[in-house]
Symmetry: C2
Subunit: 125 residues, 2 copies
DNA sequence: ACGTAGACGCAACCGATGGTTGCGGTACGC
DNA sequence: GCGTACCGCAACCATCGGTTGCGTCTACGT
């Protein structure tokens, strides 16, 4: 099962980069692709692609199988699943926080600049 | 109204960094804060915080008002709104794609390792 | 069988960026 | 007026996305 533990952060980190997302996209579209093929469709070199693939691999999102002189990369659906869920979770969290902030801002505006007396919980680290 | 145009990519870019997210979190929790105050609760220096604030500012997510010798930063709910939506959008897109991939993988598994017959893409050789 | 071309890996290098330290300016409190 | 705290600027370092160049190995054509 290769139970990699993909933290939200690590995931976001891997997925944050737009190039990486594009690479992932292409792999998804092609099923199994070689770095060179990917690079052919992308605005940067094979080497760059290779590096991204390495990252994605370490993150457990893709895997590559050697076949003769080439290496075919494919995505690992299970892990991608985790990834997508994490994304959704983060998005939701954002939304919630936004909600809070919005109502708060409105309240503050309504009360006229209450001098920020909300030293509720500061959690460090 | 300062109608900054925040592209999904720019947004993700700004939000991608975990430190930046933490900073944003703190500002959200505090309403109006100075860089130094933020830095006090974060594992890095005031300077780093300042840089992040600059980025977030450029991205239109926060704004700072000078008050005497200190600068109070606060989030801009409207823009944050845009941000959250963008996040959700991206997440959704991911989810959809994941769905496709999953069913595909299952189908493949059910058929017993069909030798990757999805050459819908450039397969040079 | 051999030579060449294609696909990969490694390493050096470049520019941007997250992070640090150090310093100088300026507003505040006494 | 003096010290202190907050800020801004600049130099510096490490990492990272990306490139170029080179070496190696495999596959293919003749």
């Amino acid at each position: 099962m290769t139970r990699h533990v993909i933290s939200d952060d690590a995931l976001l980190e891997a997925v944050a980069d737009s190039s990486r997302r594009r690479v992932l996209d292409l792999i998804l579209a092609s099923g199994e692709v070689t770095p060179t093929a990917l690079a052919a469709e992308l605005p940067f070199t094979r080497q760059a692609v290779a590096k991204h693939l390495a990252v994605l691999d370490r993150a457990g999102l893709v895997e590559g199988r050697r076949t003769g002189r080439e290496v075919r990369y494919s995505v690992r659906p299970e892990h991608l699943d985790v990834a997508a869920r994490a994304m959704a979770r983060v998005a939701a969290r954002w939304d919630a926080r936004l909600e809070a902030i919005k109502s708060m801002a409105e309240a503050r505006a309504r009360l006229g600049t209450t001098s920020t007396t909300k030293g509720n919980h500061v959690r460090r680290r």
